[in-house]
Subunit: 293 residues, 2 copies
């Protein structure tokens, strides 16, 4: 997905929110905004928003001298989500359609996104997911929640690549991956996380903390982009990507960076950006299960 003009003020806004959350002084935040301004002219609107996100958070890491400023937040997100794991499992097990429920919960877990919503009240959001009988799905636009297409392609797939998004959310992904394993025994499943820390995105450390390595081949994109920018990914990742015949892509960043790809990709995310909501023709916080082929 290209970058819209409206993304530009939002890049600065997200940087301010991230820096404020990290407790930086105003003068240091201004320095960071100045550095973002410095790279803006070289940034083309034909690039995807996660490419700018990568640059912004690289600047923040450099200026703070902290290679993983969201580390504590990620550990806490994992812990809070792990505490919910038995409840989530029970919800899936007792659901009329366990796979559908697992899909729904995996998307709901995408709310744990400190890139889009730095003032997220995590416990409150998790409570809402648990309390909700069902998630907010706009069934009037079937292409935005194509569950039947998802099942059809999933059934036929042999090699499945699951592109994770955030720490904490990975527990919700685990629920879905385990349910897919329960239903189908013929699949080779890969889970890819970020190559190194970027915002609160899931890294190897988080995935291992949550036991993903026990249920799938755990790999990384080899990149610190908050999305999957293929030319920045490692050769190993691209090989898995190429050989996969079904890809589940979690989150806005992965969607924005892969939406123009010609593969069987199913995007699962919660809409957290008004520009994207407008482009898709949906509302903020809608639950999306959309495919590109």
């Amino acid at each position: 997905m290209k970058t819209y003009l409206e993304c530009i003020p939002c890049f600065f806004k997200q940087a301010i929110q991230a820096c404020t959350m990290l407790g930086l002084a105003e003068s240091r935040i201004k320095n960071i905004l100045d550095r973002i301004a410095y790279v803006l002219p070289a940034f083309s609107l034909s690039a995807t928003p996660p490419e700018m996100g990568q640059t912004i958070h690289k600047i923040i890491r450099e200026e703070t001298g902290n290679h993983d400023p969201y580390k504590q937040l990620k550990i806490r997100s994992n812990e809070l989500a792990l505490a919910l794991y038995p409840t989530l499992k029970h919800k899936v097990k007792t659901a009329k359609n366990p796979l559908f429920k697992a899909v729904e919960l995996a998307i709901a877990g995408n709310i744990i996104d400190y890139g889009a919503c730095s003032d997220l009240d995590l416990q409150d959001e998790l409570d809402k997911i648990i309390a909700a009988e069902e998630q907010r799905i706009d069934r009037e636009v079937p292409t935005l929640f194509n569950y039947s297409g998802f099942i059809k392609h999933l059934r036929e797939a042999r090699t499945l690549l699951y592109l994770a998004d955030n720490a904490g959310e990975i527990i919700f992904d685990k629920i879905l991956i385990k349910e897919i394993r329960n239903m189908y025994h013929n699949k080779d499943i890969y889970v890819a996380v970020r190559g190194s820390p970027i915002i609160n995105d899931c890294t190897l450390e988080d995935a291992i903390q949550c036991g993903i390595d026990k249920i799938a081949h755990l790999i990384t994109t080899g990149s610190d982009a908050p999305g999957v920018i293929l030319h920045l990914c490692s050769k190993e990742f691209r090989e898995v990507y190429e050989k996969s015949d079904f890809i589940i892509s979690k989150g806005q960043g992965n969607f924005e960076s892969l939406v123009d790809e010609e593969k069987i990709l199913f995007y699962m995310f919660i809409v957290k950006c008004p520009v994207l909501a407008k482009a898709l023709g949906c509302k903020m916080r809608d639950v999306i299960l959309k495919n590109n082929i």
Copy 2:
């Protein structure tokens, strides 16, 4: 008033909105945003927001090759407001307290601000002003609407300087200036407009179209800033400013640039910015009559 970090994304947002309203292509808007980004590092947060506004609109004028891109909009605003003039006059004349009503209407006219709200539906806003029995005044915070202080200082004043803000709004100012003239005969009244075109701010041309030169000494700030940045104003303007013992300052831009001055200034504006609303402790669209001494 200093510039807040939150003003920085808003500078880019306002530039996009202005350029979109002017019908510029995306690639040209990106060029303009790149030029704004280029000057950002040199812009200190201790400067006032109108100083950045001045730079942004200078860039837009240069890039469009149009020294007055809001010209048609200003003419239309003047025409629409002029058509309301008899109704406004009638409202003041038949009010229990004509001066209070004239103050209320002068502030209400500050809604005609294409800098803060480029998607303004002018006719709709004017209809609302006419339909309203009274304007939205938060009487719980008396310092934000200090009418008694205003009257006290006005009564004592000999030389009054009225700092106008927008085209169209100047008709509402005319109503107030005429009412002040009706009530007090001992005052020398100056009205200052911008020295050259900036956004939809009132210039000499607009003031003359609306007959301000017939009721007051009409001067300009000598500057194209969307506020009164004293060191950028002409010597002539500063002389009038110095000798005035009472100043009415219309609009957010004038407030932001003069709030730290040590003169008897009464600011009249509608709050159109969330950062300012937060700083003042009021709500968006509140009607403000506030003094600084």
